[in-house]
């Protein structure tokens, strides 16, 4: 019965590759975008932790930086 379902009246050789290709494309795009995000977050943490106290206080006064700091593990807050 399982084999019969997988064969799909002879159209399984078309249906399964179409679905597998779609899921593979999704997984690949997700992995690429996630790795870009993690890389930029790490770069931000590294750069922010290297700032001296006066520069980091200037940086933390900026709205968007506050949001980024809330979402990364930079230690100066």
């Amino acid at each position: 019965m399982i084999i019969e379902y997988l064969v799909m009246n002879g159209y399984g050789i078309y249906v399964w590759p179409a679905f597998l290709f779609t899921m593979f494309s999704f997984a690949t795009l997700y992995a690429i975008i996630k790795s870009q995000l993690v890389r930029e977050q790490k770069r931000f943490e590294y750069k922010f932790n290297k700032l001296n106290v006066s520069k980091s206080s200037v940086a933390t006064n900026q709205k968007l930086l506050k949001e980024i700091l809330d979402n990364t593990a930079a230690s100066k807050i």
């Binding site: 799909m8 179409a18 930029e40 700032l51």
Partner: protein, 235 residues
């Protein structure tokens, strides 16, 4: 209206929303796959090959919608000189491109049992291929041109030229004699798809839309952090 599009507002929302959108996407995709591969009936003419429709059609719809959105955002960028429009457009482009490729590849696979060939230089298929070239040019323009060459402007012009192709794709099946069938789902007229097939189609469309939102949220945050990283260098 524009204040809701401010970078820090979108960043705040996207940081929180990512995990919820991801969970929702997994749930909707699982239901969609079950409906598409198990519960939906086979077609009286195409038999089980009709199941390819559940990935091909939503991918094509979303890829077209995303490019249209990129076009409108590019117009907004050129008129209002709002850089955030171009960052939003840049962030939705990767998922649009992937959906375009998925539509082309799954359409090609579907073509073999239906038309007897994987590829035909048919008006609909060729115009979709041209759309993928515009997607590629749009994405590459951000990578190739540096700040001095104003990539926001160049990418906006590419999107505007590419917009001409959108109505061509939509009406290609009516303007020319094509292998590709006319659209079965219409917003303004009667839909010719049976409800038992419409249900998985709509669920898969919702899943694909959620995936493009998820990719947008992640990519937008990446772009924002990248900009701020450059800002930290200048401090």
């Amino acid at each position: 209206m524009l204040k809701y599009l401010s970078p820090n507002k979108i960043f705040k929302i996207s940081s929180v929303a990512q995990k919820y959108v991801f969970i929702l996407f997994i749930i909707v995709l699982t239901i969609g796959l079950l409906e598409a591969l198990v519960f939906s009936p086979e077609d009286y003419k195409q038999s089980d090959s009709v199941r390819i429709m559940y990935v091909h059609v939503p991918a094509a719809w979303i890829s077209l919608s995303i490019f249209s959105l990129i076009g409108f955002l590019s117009i907004g960028n050129l008129i209002f000189k709002n850089k955030n429009f171009s960052i939003i457009a840049k962030s939705i482009a990767p998922s649009g491109f992937v959906f375009n490729i998925v539509a082309l590849v799954t359409g090609s696979i579907w073509g073999k049992p239906t038309w007897g060939t994987f590829w035909a230089w048919d008006a609909r298929i060729t115009s979709m291929l041209i759309l993928s070239i515009f997607y590629l040019l749009y994405i590459l323009s951000w990578r190739i041109f540096d700040k001095k060459n104003n990539p926001e402007k160049i990418s906006s012009y590419i999107a505007l030229v590419g917009m001409i192709n959108i109505p061509i794709i939509k009406f290609s099946v009516e303007w020319w004699t094509t292998l590709h069938q006319p659209s079965s789902v219409n917003l303004l007229s009667k839909t010719s798809i049976h409800p038992s097939m419409m249900k998985p189609l709509l669920i898969m469309t919702a899943a694909f839309a959620l995936f493009s939102i998820l990719i947008f949220l992640m990519k937008y945050n990446t772009e924002m952090i990248r900009i701020k990283n450059k800002g930290l260098d200048r401090l």
